[in-house]
Amino acid sequence: MDTHLHVDDIPALGWKLDAAECVRRMDEAGIGRGVVMTIVDAPEINPQALDLVADACAAYPGRLEAFARIHPWYGHEAVGLLEQAFARGFKGLKLHPVSTLSHPASEDTLRLVRVAAEHHAPTLFHCGDEPLATPYAVAHAAAACPQATIILGHMGGYFHVDEAIEVAEQHDNVVLESSAMPYPEKIRKAVERIGASRVLYASDGPACSPRIEVEKVRLAGLAADAERLVFAGNAVRLLDAVS
């Protein structure tokens, strides 16, 4: 299961990512199920963002699951959209603190994380090297919402991976997600330090190669049972818990 894929059309960046390409790339990598989300957020700058994701999942039943990408600034409207998303079968919340200029520890953000937790759904944070999105910043959200499952997408990017592992050691509700960060051996270190049950495979595809991201996990040299958890078992457990 690939827990981080995108569908969206962003002419300003020249990025056109559709569901068919996600599924083609999943097939290429031997992936059965994927979780898709948009690049931008609802209600701004795309009021139709949830529909776009729901349509993608409807086109590939059993292959694609949905995460709702919501802009924290929109208060009750944002909460309402997230509740709608769960009512429509979405499986989690995606937050990108850089694109929304929303600190992970801000009350606007925490409000959404708490709603997700009420549905036993995970919150996937973009977590890399940029201001607002470093592991230590996201750790504040994990500490403020111990009942929430917090996924560190990209597990710290290029230069914050060790900090991501440290944050996961300190907060039992933090899960590390492997997409894009370039170090196979850091996946192995993460498994050694926090256990295989809190590390997830993902690709950030389809523009990033799910096949290469699979290879990255394989090169980590995990034990077979640990690798099975990272590739699928953990994601299935997280998504099956969503109410």
């Binding site: 960046l13 090297d129 230069f159 997409s179 894009a180 196979p184 051996e185 290469i212 290879e215």
Partner: protein
Amino acid sequence: MLVGESIFGRSADAAELIGVMDDVGIEHAIVCPAKPPDYDLSGANEAVAEAVAAGAGRLTGIARVDPLLGDAACADLERALAGLGLRGLLLHPWEETFGIADRRVDLVVEVARRHDVPVIVAAGYPWLSEALQVGALARRFPDVTFVATNGLQLNISGLGQIDAELALARADNLLIQTTGVYREDFLENAVRRFGAHRVLYASSYPLLDPRLEIRRVQWASFSDVAATALLGNNAVEVFRLRSEPDEASVDEE
């Protein structure tokens, strides 16, 4: 690839590099000095020359200097290129802490220009070697070939791509390496838009894993001709390697 003892703790000697190259199917590698624990880049250049000598003809060495040292850096570079037989210059703005577009860099680039050797820039580091900063330097020296690591960007949101493409569009003498570039579509677009001759496979071993890095080229949607260029022929041209290896053969930096 990087050779020699590193202050950051990731060190490799010539024998280790050759072993890794054999594992991945690499025939030849461009090797640069790691940042040494004693900060002595002159000594690190000598260590690279020794590694090349121990490399059975499979390693080509690059010199590294700190341009903030001015005339002393120029003298070191002269000695490395003329005396030690090294074949290019590595500038690492992040580890030596200088801005790549700083005019003081021009002095050492001028030495490289006189020797007609390429300049590798550790690129994508915030404030110091951003894509457009590297591009500015490349435009000041249109007759020098600049090779930027990391596809000119280190941004896990993909937000460095536009600056990287702008830099490539404005400087034909600026090339990129594939190291750590997770967006496959960026590499494919770079080849499509700027030509396969502008992109070179590299691993930055021991910082990154060549077994993964080489897949970024082998598994992307490149023609066989383009893939062969990225995996070897471009490096043969840029670093003027004597014999042209077969495909999947040259690992830079």
